[in-house]
């Protein structure tokens, strides 16, 4: 887990995707798929991850498990970053 990655993701959600109803940043384990990220928000989130971390998210990786919470997205990003550094 990376606090830095999570902070980036949180800032993106707060700044770019949300908020219909206030300005409170979602916590690490708060559910995102039930009312926070809609389809447009998810696409923005994926584009953000790809731009910000230089990763490519495949269609198959777009699972609810990977995008459930900020912590889950962080795990996905860390996993992919680790894979990349192994490969290089």
């Amino acid at each position: 887990m990376s606090e830095d990655t999570r902070a980036h993701i949180r800032a993106f959600i707060t700044g770019e995707v949300l908020f219909d109803r206030g300005g409170e940043a979602p916590r690490d384990e708060a559910p995102l798929l039930d009312g926070v990220l809609d389809s447009l928000g998810l696409n923005q989130m994926i584009a953000f991850i790809e731009d910000e971390f230089g990763l490519e998210v495949s269609d198959a990786e777009m699972s609810t498990a990977n995008f459930r919470t900020i912590a889950a997205i962080d795990e996905l990003v860390e996993r992919k970053l680790a894979l990349r550094s192994e490969a290089s």
Binding site: E16, V36, S39, L40, G41, L42, A47, D59, M62, F67
Partner: protein, 450 residues
């Protein structure tokens, strides 16, 4: 067309080409023919200016408006420049929008960085007048009742004008009657689209606020949290905005609501749609369009061609109407000119049919993919390798290139979503839409004339 027929009957004919309808499709054909010195007769049942839906153009129209010398007239008009398009989501905050700016990836067309939003009453009248100035004859208030055929060959029309019914003869007949589909209905070619049964309710408003000041002149598409529902938001004049909601027709019929209540409920559904109308005042009655998605098996036959909406209309989502009208009008002129010069009509009209079929099929596939998974294209737009394809489609350049890679890539993505049970996009798939391959209808038969 044989030389013999041309010489024997040319003097007794009322025109080289009779064009049914003086909207952007008919006016394009008339303008090109008139400029080339042919006798084009446009018959329009309406008296312009008259209202029409479809107020936002795509840059592909610049090809034709430049070519015909009409661009300068648009530049000196009151119309608002359109630099791109934006989308807002159903849960996003006000001002959070996905933005596509034409200038980012300019197409190989004149002035690729913008086109216009237009008041169609004014625009269509200006454009028809331009066709007249280039040499087309125009009769307004003339209702074409039927197209005459000799065997399977179109030979002219019966028109009601001056309180009489008159028969007019020409070498060719072009159906530009719009969604009335004069010839398609007469020949039994018109077929209701099986998938799309949308309903649009729209009006003009003063005091509409854009999602953000930076994109005030863009077209805005606001997603609604109902099946295939969205809102168009088009600046028409300074301070005047066209706002329309599109939903499945059954949504309206089963609601039992009146137009105003239904519209207000739809626009109350998201933060962005609430925001745009917060201080707005409606300045026109509501207009309604329904049952507008249909197709034809083919768009040409002996002595006749269909152009624009008279050939096909699916859905207004990508502002394709006027561009299909103008581009098909341009291709129709090329086919007609070849035939009028004594060339091979069957081959020329066959080429026309194939070109227009391919273009409208790409539009159709793009529209069905879009509705199958509305937000999918925003993902692709974010990826460098597809950005150019998406821009090409959004700018309306679908006729010249048949391979649009991004459509295949979108289909693959949808297949993955379908086969991945916990895919994050699964719940957004619209199961009522079937994606149709762009190959359908391409090279369709020519009604037995080849």
């Amino acid at each position: 067309m044989t030389e013999e027929l041309t010489q024997d009957t040319a003097e007794s004919l009322d025109a080289d080409v009779i064009i049914i309808g003086g909207g952007p499709a008919g006016a394009t054909v008339g303008a090109y023919l008139g400029r080339a010195g042919y006798r084009a007769l446009i018959l329009d049942r309406d008296i312009h200016p008259r209202d029409h839906v479809g107020e936002s153009l795509v840059p592909a129209t610049n090809i034709v408006t430049h070519d015909l010398g009409f661009w300068e007239k648009m530049e000196s008009s009151q119309f608002i420049k359109k630099p791109g398009a934006t989308w807002t989501g159903t849960k996003g905050k006000v001002g959070s929008e996905f933005v596509v700016t034409f200038a980012e990836i300019p197409q190989k067309i004149p002035n690729p960085e913008y086109t216009y939003h237009v008041d169609r009453a004014v625009f269509d009248a200006m454009y028809l007048r331009h066709a007249h100035e280039l040499g087309a004859e125009v009769i307004e208030g003339a209702t074409v009742l039927k197209v005459h055929f000799d065997g399977d060959r179109a030979t002219g029309v019966r028109v009601r004008v001056l309180g009489r019914e008159i028969d007019l003869r020409s070498k060719f007949v072009v159906d530009a009657s719009g969604r009335r589909c004069q010839l398609g209905k007469q020949l039994g070619l018109w077929e209701k689209d099986k998938q799309f049964n949308q309903f649009a309710i729209y009006s003009w408003f003063e005091g509409v606020k854009p999602p953000s000041e930076q994109t005030a002149e863009y077209i805005h598409v606001h997603f609604l949290p109902v099946e295939r529902g969205w809102v168009w938001h088009i600046p028409i004049y300074q301070g005047v905005t066209s706002v329309g909601a599109v939903v499945e027709k059954s949504q309206f019929t089963k609601s039992g609501k009146d137009h105003e209540t239904f519209f207000n409920e739809l626009l109350g559904m998201t933060a962005n749609t609430r925001h745009i109308l917060e201080d707005a005042k409606r300045v026109r009655p509501f207009f309604i369009e329904a049952d507008y998605s249909y197709k034809m098996d083919h768009f040409s036959g002996p002595g006749w061609l269909m152009v624009g909406d008279a050939a096909r209309f699916v859905d207004p989502i990508f502002s394709s109407g006027v561009s299909v009208a103008m581009r098909s009008g341009q291709f129709a002129f090329q086919a007609l000119e070849e035939a009028l010069k004594g060339g091979d009509e069957t081959a020329a009209f066959g080429t026309y049919n194939e070109t227009v079929s391919r273009g409208v099929q790409i539009w159709y596939e793009w529209i069905t993919l879009y509705y199958r998974l509305q937000a999918l294209f925003t993902r692709f737009s974010g990826q460098p390798q597809f950005k150019a394809d998406i821009q090409q489609l959004l700018q309306g350049e679908v006729f010249d290139k048949s391979a649009v890679k991004v459509l295949d890539r979108m289909k693959a993505a949808i297949a993955t979503i379908e086969s991945t049970k916990d895919h994050v996009m699964r719940e957004y798939l619209n199961d009522n839409i079937e994606v149709v391959e762009a190959s359908v209808g391409i090279g369709a038969s020519e009604g037995g004339d080849r």
